[in-house]
């Protein structure tokens, strides 16, 4: 049972990040909340499947989502003002 509370905390914080992301109106200010969600999910992946190779899955998820946030932010920053 050890680690169950830790997994629950990761899940609750990931859900909280997702809800705050939906409620926020400014696209750029949504990204820090997405970041919180990514941290929670990456931790949760390791709790759901405790195996050495899971680390690669968690890192791939985290790096991929960070790269996406980076791409969204830079594309949004460079967009032409209407």
């Amino acid at each position: 049972m050890e680690g169950l509370i830790a997994a629950a905390i990761c899940l609750i914080i990931a859900l909280y990040g997702a809800i705050r992301t939906v409620l926020e109106r400014n696209t750029l200010l949504r990204l820090p909340f997405v970041n919180v969600m990514n941290f929670g999910i990456a931790g949760l992946i390791v709790f759901i499947l405790p195996h050495p190779l899971t680390l690669v899955a968690a890192a791939a998820y985290f790096v991929g989502s960070t790269l996406e946030a980076n791409a969204i932010a830079s594309a949004y920053a460079r967009r032409k003002p209407k």
Binding site: V46, V63, S74
Partner: protein
């Protein structure tokens, strides 16, 4: 059960101090590393936050920094012990290179966090406490109030600079 809550809170405080001091040591609040991080910093400053704190929060979003290093190192120690922490440092370095970052903060954060987590495991903590603790620590910076978090980072940054 309450004991695990207490350990997680203590681990969150340790992880918070660890990743903030490494990020500020590597000068993350100095400027937005990429155009996206710069834009996020300016958006946070536009809402009444601190410019340097906003840049650091943008940098955390746009590239795996010491906070990601701490999280993945704790995950690595959880699944495979200290070698798992080193593997996490390598994965964070690869991730940094993909995101056009030099990778100092993430890699050094993962390596230092590996030893911190392994050290605290000797005194009764679990690696899982540090995973949940790091998620709690990032919640306080990125998830509660951007304005207040950026002002706090800006205050610490001016003290360092």
């Amino acid at each position: 059960m309450l004991e695990e809550f207490g350990r997680i809170v203590v681990a969150a405080v340790i992880a918070w101090i660890l990743f903030l001091s490494i990020d500020i040591f590597w000068r993350l609040p100095q400027t937005g590393g990429v155009s996206g991080a710069d834009a996020i910093g300016k958006a946070i400053a536009g809402r009444g936050g601190d410019q340097h704190g906003g840049w650091m929060m943008g940098n955390i979003v746009c590239s795996p920094d010491a906070s990601a290093g701490t999280l993945l190192a704790a995950c690595g120690v959880f699944v495979a012990g200290i070698p798992g922490g080193f593997a996490a440092a390598i994965l964070v370095y690869i991730g940094n290179r993909i995101c056009h970052d030099k990778g100092y903060a993430g890699t050094s954060g993962a390596l230092i966090a590996t030893f911190v987590v392994a050290g605290f495991m000797q005194v009764g903590f679990l690696a899982s406490d540090f995973i949940a603790g790091m998620v709690l620590a990032i919640l306080t910076i990125q998830g509660l109030s951007h304005t207040h978090a950026s002002r706090l980072i800006g205050y610490i940054w001016r003290w360092r600079a």
